[in-house]
Symmetry: C2
Subunit: 275 residues, 2 copies
């Protein structure tokens, strides 16, 4: 039974769409009949400074170790506070944006029936929605790991540190639609199998002595969710030399996301599956 919902925005302080939506909802909460909603501006310090994070990526700060130890990292302490606040939360909707052309992506970070049904129902109700599954990363656990059910919205392309009205209202529309389906308990439909993209590998930029030595190829820029085939150009170095994809066909996502340069991720590779 889904009763207590939380919506988080500004987990990354320079992703303004989610942060300003939270501020709007805090002033004017969405009216519901059956569910409670807690609106959380997740990283207020990073939001104030318009940075992704102060000391450590908050969305990698929910691992058991980070939640256990006293820390000089602002985000590790903030993660403990958020975990306490979400202790009765049944479902979390976490709002993000990306410089990649990810359109409206519903990200699942674990495989549970309720989250899957909600993701599928969003895709059923709205056009141009993609379901992406990202089950693990090596840096630390996502905020989603501390609640039983959750989805993340990743909308793009949008630069860090700016608002875009079209993207703001498009995200708000999806949020309201999720709240409505939870409030009416109307998401448990028998839906046909839906395509999902599972992140299975990560590709870094070519580097020399640790420094980036090539850029995303112009023909790959903006082509998130397109199929990469052997021989497709993926990078071009600073002298114009092209570098080609050499592996099995895969779908590329998070192409040229600004925040992933430091994570050594030029793009991610996905397999398409059906759930």
């Amino acid at each position: 039974m889904i009763k207590n919902i939380a919506i988080t925005g500004g987990v990354h302080g320079n992703e303004l769409t989610g942060a300003y939506l939270i501020k709007k909802f805090q002033k004017r909460p969405i009216k519901t009949k059956n569910i409670n909603i807690d609106y959380i501006l997740a990283n207020p310090k990073a939001f104030k400074e318009c940075k992704r994070y102060i000391d450590y990526d908050l969305n990698r700060s929910f691992s058991i170790n980070a939640l256990k130890e006293d820390s000089h990292f602002y985000e590790f302490e903030r993660a403990k506070v958020i975990k306490e606040r979400l202790k009765n939360c049944d479902f979390l909707l976490d709002l993000h944006s990306t410089t990649s052309n990810m359109k409206m992506s519903v990200v699942l970070s674990k495989d549970d029936e309720i989250s899957n049904l909600i993701a599928k129902e969003i895709k059923n109700l709205h056009e141009d929605v993609y379901i992406l599954r990202w089950f693990s990363n090596s840096e630390g656990d996502f905020i989603n790991s501390i609640v039983p059910h959750s989805i993340t919205l990743e909308v793009g392309p949008i630069c860090q540190g700016v608002l875009d009205a079209d993207i703001f209202f498009k995200t708000e529309k999806i949020v309201k639609s999720v709240i409505e389906m939870l409030d009416n308990n109307s998401f448990k439909k028998e839906l046909n199998k839906t395509e999902v993209y599972d992140i299975v590998d990560i590709v870094d930029f070519p580097r020399e002595n640790g420094e980036i030595s090539a850029m995303i190829h112009p023909s790959l820029i903006g082509k998130d969710y397109s199929l990469l085939k052997k021989g497709d150009p993926i990078f071009v170095d600073f002298n114009g030399k092209e570098i080609f994809y050499e592996n099995e066909p895969m779908y590329a996502v998070f192409i040229n996301e600004a925040a992933y340069y430091e994570k050594k991720m030029a793009f991610c590779l996905c397999e398409k599956r059906y759930i």
Copy 2:
């Protein structure tokens, strides 16, 4: 006589196009016959941290006071070092990028004949080039203020913290063209009068208690250098209410530049003139 040239990139550490061009040219300098070129990564600490600046905007740190006083601001100290390095510089080419749709803008920040001729010759040689003049701001002097002649390139739209191959090579092409005209002393042509856009006013976002309460209107996004007329929608608030332009016709530039949110600039207004 233009003999000593400097090219600066990464004055803002998260504008990667200029920074990586400088790194490329430092490894493989452009061949010249008659001029010397000094390639300077202007804010290496901000570049390393992928931020616009550490303590203060370096491109507002060249006022007499900032250059005179000992300071705990990294950028004020860096400005003194750069001023010393540029003491024999005749012409500075400063490379920037912007999240606004400024295409290839040649920015003049003072009115001198040589800089004007170079700007006009760039516009003469290349398509889709705009000349923008920005003679003063209240925050502190630009790097251009410490050299006799200079132009700034502002290329966009591109997010902070990313490379875009098309924008990289387009900027490189203009840089090489400027170097060639300086090396061959071929810029002193009699050219027809050219249109330039003079920044004459700045428009902030609507705010409530200091916080942004509206976004750039979707019909204005990306419309840099277009004419704003009375009654045109310029903002939309978070509830969808439109806000309209009420003044004399002017041209809008730097629309929705990420770095200008904190400077209280939603866009700048220009008059079109001919030089």
